[in-house]
């Protein structure tokens, strides 16, 4: 609205919006607070909100006892590796589809997206057995391959939409200016596409980091990423809430930050353009 909303209305809206926001955010907030408590405080009733002894011991314990960093490293390698690998396949494919559309380009794109809709359980058994026989169970390489394939359709789709937004005339101008195909890509296309490529990477890293079907089923210890590590708290010994909170906070913090920056890509990527 171009006109100023009445202050009263704004106050009411602000209050309700903040209430809603805090309610939704509360589990995360509570988790972070709990991570700074001792286990006894974490389990205490009534729950202590602010006035307790704040401590960072849990963060240390989680790292010492369960080698948190190793799982984090696996997450980074798997999420990063699968994303980069999918770029290798996706950039040329998206480029070709965006700038040399054929009769079947749209159908091809739709088919690619449809592969994402296959339920993972349909492929679980063969993949598990294949991996077992090939020695790929509990390997980072195997997971990188699987996650790459899982996210390839979305990466191709997102890059396609970003490439399509580059005006074709600018590429034609570079051709008139004497650029060969390779130089056209290096000097003109890539610099213009970098924001789009970066946002696609971002979203993809987030999705791969949080992936919790294949990571849970195909890894046990060596290649286990953070999703698996946190899952080990489902059958713990003794008091563990504070440690769980610390581990969880560390596991999700980077992604929350990245996620904030990739909201628009989320809409674009996961609705396959059906909503603009």
């Amino acid at each position: 609205m171009a006109r100023a909303t009445s202050t009263q209305r704004k106050v009411v809206t602000t209050a309700s919006a903040w209430l809603v926001g805090l309610l939704i955010f509360f589990p995360i907030l509570w988790m972070v607070i709990t991570s700074f408590k001792t286990e006894l405080d974490a389990f205490a009733t009534p729950p202590k909100f602010l006035f307790f002894e704040w401590t960072t011991e849990n963060y240390g314990i989680v790292q010492e006892r369960s080698d948190y960093l190793r799982f984090a490293l696996n997450s980074i390698i798997i999420a990063g590796g699968s994303t980069l690998l999918s770029l290798v396949f996706a950039v040329p494919a998206a480029w070709a589809m965006a700038f040399q559309p054929g009769k079947r380009t749209k159908d091809l794109l739709m088919w690619m997206l449809s592969t994402k809709m296959m339920p993972p359980v349909g492929a679980l058994i063969p993949i598990y057995l294949l991996f077992r026989d090939a020695g790929l169970l509990d390997s980072r390489v195997g997971l990188i391959a699987v996650l790459c394939l899982l996210d390839l359709p979305i990466v191709v789709w997102l890059l396609y939409t970003y490439f399509k937004e580059i005006p074709g005339e600018i590429l034609e101008a570079s051709r008139m200016d004497g650029a060969t195909l390779w130089r056209e890509i290096v000097y003109v296309l890539t610099p213009m596409a970098i924001p789009g490529i970066a946002s696609t990477l971002l979203l993809n890293v987030i999705l791969a980091w949080n992936e919790a079907f294949w990571t849970l089923n195909l890894t046990t210890s060596d290649a286990a990423p953070l999703t698996v590590f946190i899952a080990s708290y489902s059958s713990p010994e003794g008091l563990f809430w504070a440690k769980l909170s610390a581990a969880s906070t560390m596991a999700i913090a980077p992604i929350l930050v990245l996620g904030w920056f990739s909201q628009r890509q989320l809409v674009r990527g996961l609705t396959f353009g059906a909503v603009k």
Partner: protein
Amino acid sequence: MGKIQLKGVSKSFGTVTIIPSLDLDIDDGEFVVFVGPSGCGKSTLLRLIAGLEDASGGKIEIDGLDVTEVPPAKRALSMVFQSYALYPHMSVRNNIGFGLKMAGQPKEVIRQKVEKAAAVLNLTNYLDRKPRQLSGGQRQRVAIGRAIVREPKAFLFDEPLSNLDAALRVQMRLEIAQLHQSLDTTMIYVTHDQVEAMTLADKIVVLHAGVIEQAGTPLELYHHPVNLFVAGFIGSPKMNFVATTVRAADPQGVTVELPGGGAVAVPVKADSVAAGAKVTLGVRPEHLKPADRGELSGDVIVTERLGGDTVLYLRPAGGAMIVVQTDGNSTTRVNDRIAVQIDPETCHLFGADGRAIPRLRRHPLADMQHPSQAH
């Protein structure tokens, strides 16, 4: 340098034929304008010459060399796009110099040439800015600078002024005309605006559905259009067309009957028509003079006063609307009944097939070369 020949060039997209088969010669240093309504194929033709589209058939030659299969980068042509197509991530300097960089020229040479072009185009103060910081007119100049600096055999312009406001358009039109005079390079210019065509061209090529309706100097097209389409396309306001019947045909000319009883003897060759034939009389609004008595009369429905000119829309008894362009001092008002005089020398007759019946005398200016043509 810069002589372009199109021989039997055709272009189809799938089953849709945009250009059936086209022949055209463009001389070195000529300013040729492709003009026509939307979808007539003028941009397609330009892009075929540029190499951005493959011809479906025929040959394209530049200076005698067959370039039909040669990619755009190797044709030594420059193009100015409608949307300017500047590289958004590069400065003005790098935009202009990009083509030279691709050609592998040494940095110092590039720097000099870029600065020279920038001086000519008044861009020296903007060399280090990015396109998004420039106005529409400035971006246009950068696009032109980028084209000039490569010293191409010919410049191709694809509706370069369409995105500018009216005042800027006039100014840029002048600058392009001056550019042609100073560079003396072949220029091929596409527009849908016939004013740009008339003012800039040495030769206008009127296209319609992929076919050349007529190619000639601006005044030739104005005074001797070969068919109804060209006659109606060139000239603003549009030529009036009146359906008439031939009363008599003799060596002096063809006399036709006008609605309302009047008649006019048009000085055209009489061999192809006989009395009773249905023909179309064409006369431009600026050639109709309001008077006390005249061959046509009617009620004024709308008046448009532009200050320098007045345009009157007449409804004659039993006929289609007639447009008259007259002096700005006219005091005629809506609902006045006025008569107009028709000078037979300014009339055109078109047969039933739409083609113009040839005139007996050629207009003295019709073959005048454009002042920029020194050869």
